[in-house]
Symmetry: C3
Subunit: 320 residues, 3 copies
């Protein structure tokens, strides 16, 4: 799935085989057709459609409608709020929560910290979308507050993942190498997905220290998506460039990730959402004539893409 126009630079030929250096990739190998992870993905697609789980969202005002519609199109149900009392009440009946810091109001500064602490105390799984991480004091203060009550999954573009790792003071060995190229650029990534690989791995390991059952994941969206649980790095190529020409491709992917997190483990949730988005956006590009008809066709494709198609997506895996 592509949420930015950066070229895909993640080819196996560029991988240095240096297992000593932390975070350096070993060789990525295609996931076998009968790999157990593919079964888990197929089950997640079907379980959402069979059980219509509720995932609630605290998300930005720009794309809140698309987030809800994408969750419904994937088969789940949706509830949205900006009030801690609503979110905490609904967490008792929702299986997962999605929080997106795209458009903030002043009172969110306290509200979001309180919500995160409450979700953490309840061991309630949630997905964070650190939109525009690095821009604005208010956003940085909120993201810092999440450090001690972190999400189960973080999903963002490469720039956001790198910026969030910085805000959280995570010790990313390769951070220096990218210091000159990493800067916030509105809500668009200016870094390629692989530049965030090390940050993603370190972040996943940090998250699982706080997570229910010690399982967590980080998903980096780009021309090729990268998903990791801290032990293995998965790459999911494909998708459509048109995803960068509609607003909310990334946000709604985060929301759908929460929908899957309501029925499965964090790694499977992130992989399933990414694979569904790649296949659905490819189908939508074939069926459309511009960004208006693309969005319409994309929601149709979320609804119509089969569990078989999603689970048989091209995926590579490498041990960290």
């Amino acid at each position: 799935m592509s949420t930015d126009a950066s070229p895909d630079t993640s080819s196996s030929s560029s991988i240095v085989d240096d297992a000593k250096r932390f975070g350096t990739p070993t060789e990525a190998t295609p996931l076998a057709d009968d790999d157990h992870q593919r079964e888990l993905i197929a089950q997640a697609v079907d379980k959402v459609r069979d059980t219509t789980p509720l995932a609630q969202s605290f998300t930005n005002f720009v794309t809140i409608n698309l987030v809800a519609n994408a969750q419904l199109a994937a088969g789940g149900t949706a509830a949205m709020s900006y009030l801690p009392d609503d979110i905490i009440d609904t967490a008792a009946i929702a299986k997962a929560t999605y929080i997106n810091v795209g458009t903030l109001l002043p009172f969110f500064k306290d509200a979001l910290g309180n919500i995160a602490r409450s979700l953490h105390a309840a061991q309630h799984p949630w997905v964070l979308d650190p939109v525009a991480a690095g821009i604005g004091r208010t956003r940085s203060a909120i993201l810092w507050a999440f450090r001690s009550a972190p999400p189960t999954i973080v999903r963002g573009n490469a720039s956001e993942i790198i910026a969030l790792a910085g805000i959280w003071d995570l010790n990313v060995p390769s951070a220096g190498a990218h210091a000159d190229t990493t800067r916030p650029a509105g809500v668009e990534a200016v870094d390629d997905v692989d530049s965030a690989r090390d940050a993603a791995v370190i972040m996943a390991r940090y998250l699982r220290g706080y997570a229910p059952n010690h399982r967590a994941a980080v998903a980096v969206s780009g021309a090729t998506d990268l998903v990791t649980d801290g032990d293995t790095v998965y790459r999911l190529p494909g998708g459509s460039e048109m995803m960068t020409k509609i607003t909310g491709a990334g946000c709604s992917l985060g929301g759908v990730t929460a929908t899957y997190l309501a029925v499965t483990d964090p790694l499977t949730a992130a992989l399933t959402a990414s694979a569904l988005y790649n296949r659905a956006s490819e189908e939508a590009e074939r069926a459309s004539h511009g960004p208006g008809s693309f969005q319409t066709a994309f929601l149709d494709a979320l609804w119509n893409t089969t569990a078989q198609t999603v689970s048989q997506s091209p995926i590579t895996a490498e041990a960290v």
Copy 2:
């Protein structure tokens, strides 16, 4: 019109003929083809298209765009605000107002009470959509504040109508029978429409005590919609299950109800909006391939469905 996936359990065979017990339905009979109410419905459809009345809205952030677009597609005009000074200024030029408590901000707690009192003082008709009634202290406080300055029409799903009757301390005889099955479930109904029949009738009678010309209505959306003015219970079957797969079906129905309330009486407004939604959603289901194209086709169908088609919808009526 269906805003939830609950099966339609409202069949005349399940009706107990016991006129002694309050709220027990008598036999529902089809509305005659030349019933005067059908004329009023046809006139409402045409009058909106001929006069493009302004109905203003204070509605949630998720579906605010669809509410406005649905009002425009039905033929009206729209204005949206969250400020008491705006709403009160605009009430002088708008014929009706729509208030939806789906996504609240902290300042709404005082603002919405002030707005309701101002509308009541001006005898200005308005529609309340008690989204997620029963969830959150802030929402409950706002809904309680409406008790002494209530709307002209309440439109919600069965769970919301039952919950609102509880918040308002209305004396619903059958409430105990449903106490174990009624609970808030996000924004989705978990109760069937008929379980809210008694609450709807009592609520309509309560509302008309405060309403301009002592006329009010309550509409319960479900697989079969239920509309009542406190004397007669109307049922409107049909619609599309796909309405549960887009966000804002219910909210925009509330907004379009306000558009009709700008040109007609509360009962006719609620019946017209429900019948239009049923016919338009059936047409949209025929013309679409998933939830994306369904929403597009639904707005087209709101625009294209004739007054004749709307007014000749299947409707049954029973005296309370």
Copy 3:
């Protein structure tokens, strides 16, 4: 581009040739096919598509999604916020900003004044959409605050331009003649475009006193759009009546104007956005069956309309 249903009353036959009276139009003449202004329009269309410039927005909750999607469909990139710290941070990387006062929250009263002063201090170009100018104390206070740190472009319908000129105490000679017909009517114009001609000219001259490079523009949307830099009045006929049947036609035009302002001068930005909207809405009307499919087709047409088609739009010019 039409954002209201007012008939187009701007014909050259109604123009009085009285150069002594300020603001009386001289004869409007068609812009030559090889006029330099047409070249600038074609360059603006292409430069946005080639460089995907970032324009940020502080805009209303109703149409924020359409604003972003229209900016993307025109070829730009988008970022949205409601926080001064976000807007001021992002102004350093965005080339232009769009501010729309459609749906206000209480804290916007201070926030928007602070943002305007900050943009002014940085000589950062921005577009104001004075939605519903004249309604509500909060909105009037905000618009008054912009008077001493004004935008580079104002885009509105005739009623809004006239109301804003009044709020800013601009000395519009013909204002008295329209005093009885000018009143706020929700967000719909009740005045025809030419009634705002004098206000637009005076406003453009006022704005350029504060603007970077002393260049500014005012755009009045209607059945025929009117754009002026204070010296010349341009008129752009055409577009589709269906633009009045979707919400956000005007708001998204303001957002796309900011996208063009990121790559060109204010006059060219306003002309380019207006001409693109007229051609795209005509194409969308041909390709659609109602307001749902119209909006979808309109976004496709923003994406597909060529620079050649936009720059060869019918445009007349008259010296003031």
